[in-house]
Amino acid sequence: MKTMETSLAVHSGKLIRSVERRLFLRQGLSLGALALLSGCDLTDDDSVQKLLTGMSRWNDGAQAWLFNPNKLAPEFPESAITKPFPFNAFYSVDEVTLVDGEDYKLELEGLIRDKKSWTLPELYSLPQTSQITRHICVEGWSAIGKWSGVRFSDFLARIGADTSAKYIGFKCADDYYTSVDMVTALHPQTLLTFRYADEILPPKYGFPMKLRIPTKLGFKNPKHIMSMFVTNEYPGGYWEDQGYNWFSGS
């Protein structure tokens, strides 16, 4: 009988191979872009960057087109939860940002009808749901965890977000920022989470809230969210602006 670790490794391997296939496809497209560069001066960084950025945006569009908003990510039993769940950020665990829960208010901007800010008691009083799903990191590891919170589509409906807009951007207390497409934001498994393993999110997992998107890679799951905005202007993200694929989902 396979051990849990072997089983996880095999499953994780399949997922990573699936991502790799997409990367291969993307790199194939990038090779196409490289072929187009033959007429360019390779020392002209701006033109190269513009072309590669254009290709990457094209890839985002193709991935968004392929995304099935009704397809659910696998869910797991409590026994499959990875313990301890790994900490991962651009800083060490002893430098985690502390947010004061008593003063906290979630700020809303952009194409939202009711931009009133939300305190934690108000957010905690919304109907909550839980999920046990796999977090997949672009670094090549994955882990299963249990998150609880409000279905993000319900929250967006409650605040009167313009769900015909293209993007939702997030600003975080640790200065990290990212954005997601509206179709993924409305996916039934996308949760605005306040708890991990049935406990209030500890700082290392993103107190006071983390957007949990099991259909996207980990860096598209912002922690310590302080504000969010709805827009049709492409917002990018920290890692996305460094060249990582913006859509990064299945």
Binding site: L111, D174, Y176, Y177
Partner: protein
């Protein structure tokens, strides 16, 4: 809000406060140190994220405000 709901919310908040107090970091982020993790390029520093966030905010804020103002007029 009903008294029972208020008590429940207070308990949840208190539990949250306890959770982060127990898990408090011992040092502030050192912005001039290299980044952690495997996503970075070698030259990246932790403070680069803050600088990039401020630049992004300067770029996006006027566009978002203009967009929202235009939408409110409709």
């Amino acid at each position: 809000m009903k008294p029972l709901e208020a008590i429940a919310l207070a308990a949840i908040l208190a539990a949250g406060t306890g959770a982060w107090a127990a898990d408090a970091p011992d040092k502030p982020m050192k912005m001039d140190e290299p980044m952690h993790g495997e996503m970075k390029k070698k030259s990246m520093k932790k403070g680069d994220v803050k600088k990039a966030a401020e630049k992004k905010d300067r770029e996006m804020k006027p566009m978002i405000e203009k967009e929202a103002a235009g939408s409110a007029k409709k």
